[in-house]
């Protein structure tokens, strides 16, 4: 790709040529096709995320999206917009940049590590709720993938709104693994089910962290991977229906998913052994409590005596 050409290091100072607002670079958070995101601090010392690149049109389109979708119908979808400007570097070269809220969170995969498997479904459910709001406004998220998600306080958050596309238009940014066109399962026109497909692929990625390629028969590959995963067993039916294009709206897929999740929490009857263990632990607690009380009493009596 095009070299981005700017030299920014921890401690560098980026000052906007239009507003004069300045930001101190702290560290790089990541870089993508059209820019690099840095953790930085504003004049008040508050943390923020600064994205800088060389394609000013593309960055400005992202700013327009951020302004529009930081909040949709009172629901926070992406990071909120802070500032946009141009930076003239010491060699008189101009680089466009914008500043947004810094969202501190964990990557989906590290969040799920060691958690029970219904969390895969719960995260997907949260994601579908956010998509429902976005879709109601007439837009698809577009480039929906794990890299664009963060877990904050056990809640999934979308962090890059650069791919948001009006329904009926062509998806401009996509990542093959999450793209239904790549798998031969539909067009690249933005509609609600384009995003729903990506949600199903995020679930598949939780079972196959290294992802996988489509092979000669893409839909066969997908089906094989799905049926071979025990993690995804409860969601199998729902995912297949998603691939068959049965869900036209996020709410429908959300409904199927909540049925699965509700069933799982009620169905496994607690086995006797578990119950015994529980009773056992209760006993231990009781004994500890009594010992502590006696000790406390003893100390009180002792001090009283003195």
């Amino acid at each position: 790709m095009k070299k981005q050409g700017f030299n920014l290091y921890p401690g560098s100072y980026v000052r906007g040529k239009w507003s004069g607002h300045g930001y101190i670079i702290e560290k790089e958070l990541g870089s993508g096709a059209c820019g690099t995101v840095f953790l930085s601090r504003n004049a008040k010392g508050e943390k923020c995320a600064l994205k800088i690149g060389s394609d000013s049109s593309r960055l400005m389109l992202e700013v327009n999206m951020l302004k529009k979708f930081g909040k949709v119908q009172g629901v926070k979808l992406g990071p909120s917009f802070v500032d946009v400007d141009d930076w003239v570097d010491p060699s008189r070269q101009t680089f466009p940049f914008y500043v947004m809220e810094y969202i501190e969170g964990a990557a989906l995969r590290s969040f799920l590590k060691g958690k029970s498997r219904e969390w895969v479904g719960i995260c997907a459910l949260q994601l579908l709720s956010d998509l429902e709001h976005l879709h109601r406004a007439g837009y698809a998220f577009g480039d929906l993938k794990t890299d664009n998600l963060l877990m904050v306080d056990s809640r999934v958050r979308l962090i890059d709104v650069g791919g948001v596309t009006q329904f009926g238009r062509a998806i401009k940014e996509y990542t093959e693994f999450y793209d239904r066109g790549y798998w031969g399962l539909g067009s690249r026109k933005a509609d609600p089910s384009y995003d729903l497909f990506a949600v199903s692929m995020i679930m598949l990625e939780m079972a196959y962290p290294g992802r996988f390629e489509k092979g000669v028969k893409p839909s066969r590959t997908l089906m094989n991977k799905l049926t071979a995963s025990t993690l995804l067993k409860p969601y199998q039916k729902m995912i297949i229906q998603c691939w068959e294009g049965k869900y036209l709206h996020a709410s429908e897929m959300k409904h199927s998913l909540s049925l699965v999740l509700m069933k799982r929490t009620m169905s496994p009857p607690p086995s006797r052994r578990k119950k015994k263990q529980q009773q056992g632990s209760e006993k231990v607690e009781l004994v500890t409590f009594s010992i502590l009380s006696v000790l406390f009493l003893g100390v009180s009596i002792f001090s009283f005596w003195i």
Partner: protein, 245 residues
């Protein structure tokens, strides 16, 4: 506002030209005729070092007002559609910049605009990219070393049509291969809105041992200008003119 029609040649090759006229000069001529030239260099997945002569790829695209990219086979699909879209945006931006300079004076480009104006102009450019009509002439190098890459090329072209046909604007594609012993280039698919029927198009190809990139580009340019297309005749000299704001 009526969106215009963009014309592009997409050259897929894996080496340096070694026969006939200078492809860079032909690309410059094409640009002058309102046809953008994009070039993609296709590497073998196992190839580690960049083969010599691939600098030419960049120079051709630069002269042709387009975009070049050197990629491994496995990322060909995504690159082909990205390069095509980027080149479209680049062309539209060029037209918009020209208009801006006419209205606001020299040195006024989208990048220089005050932020609030820029925010509006980029939406207009984005709109044009979605709604304009597009004609892509795909020119595939089928010389010996490209032979085993052709199935990947076929997939990538199908994928390109999938991406572009998601747009609101209409598309026309055609596919030529070179070298051809008789006419330098050989038409494999005539102008069509979809590249779905390209199944097996590369099966009957006898690959030659030379790479006449320059002459092939020139024939492709002729194929463009001679195109008996019902509406392209009215476009005038500069096909971008009607993209005016």
């Amino acid at each position: 506002m009526k969106p215009g029609r963009l014309k592009q040649i997409l050259l897929l090759t894996d080496g340096c030209s070694n026969h006939g006229e200078d492809p860079i000069a032909v690309a410059a001529l094409a640009r002058n005729q309102g046809v953008t030239v994009n070039v993609i260099g296709v590497l073998d997945d196992r190839q580690h070092s960049k083969p010599q002569g691939l600098d030419e790829i960049e120079s051709i695209a630069e002269a042709g007002g387009g975009i070049s990219q050197i990629v491994y086979q496995k990322s060909l699909s995504q690159t082909v559609q990205m390069v095509t879209r980027q080149a479209m945006t680049q062309t539209i931006q060029g037209v918009v910049n020209k208009e801006l300079q006419e209205i606001l004076g020299k040195d006024q480009t989208i990048e220089e605009l005050p932020l609030d104006k820029r925010a509006e102009v980029v939406e207009v450019v984005d709109d044009l990219g979605e709604t304009c009509d597009l004609e892509v002439l795909v020119l595939v190098d089928t010389s010996a070393s490209m032979n085993h890459k052709l199935p990947t090329v076929k997939d990538a072209l199908y994928d390109l049509s999938l991406s572009l046909n998601a747009r609101t604007g209409s598309n026309q594609f055609c596919v030529y291969v070179f070298p051809d012993t008789k006419k330098t280039i050989k038409k494999m698919i005539d102008w069509t809105p979809e590249l779905e029927k390209i199944h097996g198009i590369f099966s009957k190809i006898s690959s030659g041992g030379y790479t006449p990139t320059g002459p092939a580009l020139k024939e492709a340019l002729y194929a463009f200008t001679e195109k008996p297309f019902f509406h392209s005749m009215q476009d005038g000299v500069d096909p971008y003119e009607e993209t005016g704001l």
